[in-house]
């Protein structure tokens, strides 16, 4: 198996209507059309999806592990950010 210059693609699959596309994995493909087809072969052969998106991995901007603290550890002393004070009236089912 030789290494190729095919770019990497990220695959997002919508498992059924009404749900959003979810990241399923990644793959190599020479272009977008083949990325879609490879995604179909790799991720939806057993009826897992109704729609596929492929995105060049290079187009994704990701947060850096170095920025973990400023990004993901907000001050815990601002309790108003966490809506835990509300009493849920009885009989309300869909909150």
């Amino acid at each position: 198996m030789t290494n190729t210059d095919w770019p990497l693609w990220e695959v997002f699959v919508r498992s059924r209507r009404g749900l959003s596309h979810t990241h399923a994995g990644s793959l190599h493909a020479p272009d977008a059309e083949f990325a879609l087809r490879n995604a179909r072969d790799l991720y939806t052969r057993r009826g897992e999806g109704v729609s596929i998106w492929v995105v060049p991995s290079s187009a994704i901007t990701a947060s850096s592990p170095d920025e973990k603290d400023p990004f993901f550890e907000p001050a815990a002393d601002k309790p108003y950010r966490h809506p835990t004070f509300y009493e849920i009236p009885e009989g309300v089912k869909h909150l």
């Binding site: 198996m1 030789t2 190729t4 095919w6 793959l27 190599h28 493909a29 020479p30 272009d31 059309e33 083949f34 087809r37 490879n38 072969d41 790799l42 052969r45």
Partner: protein, 240 residues
Amino acid sequence: MTVDLTTNAAALALGDDALVLSHRLGEWAGHAPVLEEEVALANIALDLLGQARVLLSMAGDEDELAYLREERAFRNLQLVEQPNGDFAHTIARQLYFSTHQHLLYARLAAGDGPFAGLAAKAVKEVAYHRDHAERWTLRLGDGTEVSRRRMQSAVDALWRFTGELFQPVDGLDVDPAALEATWLESVTDVLRRATLTVPEGRRTGAWRAGAGRQGLHTESFGRMLAEMQHLHRSHPGASW
């Protein structure tokens, strides 16, 4: 061999096409240029194997038919038994065959013969095989200097096996000859778009290869069968 080979000649012919091509494509496992393409070829092989199982079961016992027949009893086209060669050869073989199979199955699905049910299900799979082969032909033909040269050489080398696609098949409610004009138009269109030259070699008469439907096969087929049948013949009745 308890199966009467004349009872369902059409099921055997179509079933053997699917079985043999499936095995050839399976030979790519572990050898394909990239993992993604290996999975794609294996998926096509599995689709074909599923079709073969249904078709051979119509003609008799599927295992007996697949594993215990001699070379001369196989009724597949010589096209599908051709060795994988390089990737371009595999794609050219698939382009020629899948275009034909797609047209044939669409016609069978529209009828009410014994193959209508299978064809209606399989035609969607085959449409994908055809799409896969067409896209690769376009990319290889209109690709680099090397890919273009290899694709042209594959398209030329297999051309002589395509006349056989349109020979009549006993027991089939569609005359394959009726598909030839559409097939030629479609393949010509793909090759032109791929900037390839449509082969000029003869597909009929003395130049035409192909008597696979009559049980005559090419040299490499015996070796393929030996590999395919070896395990079952060594351990009759073995199961997982």
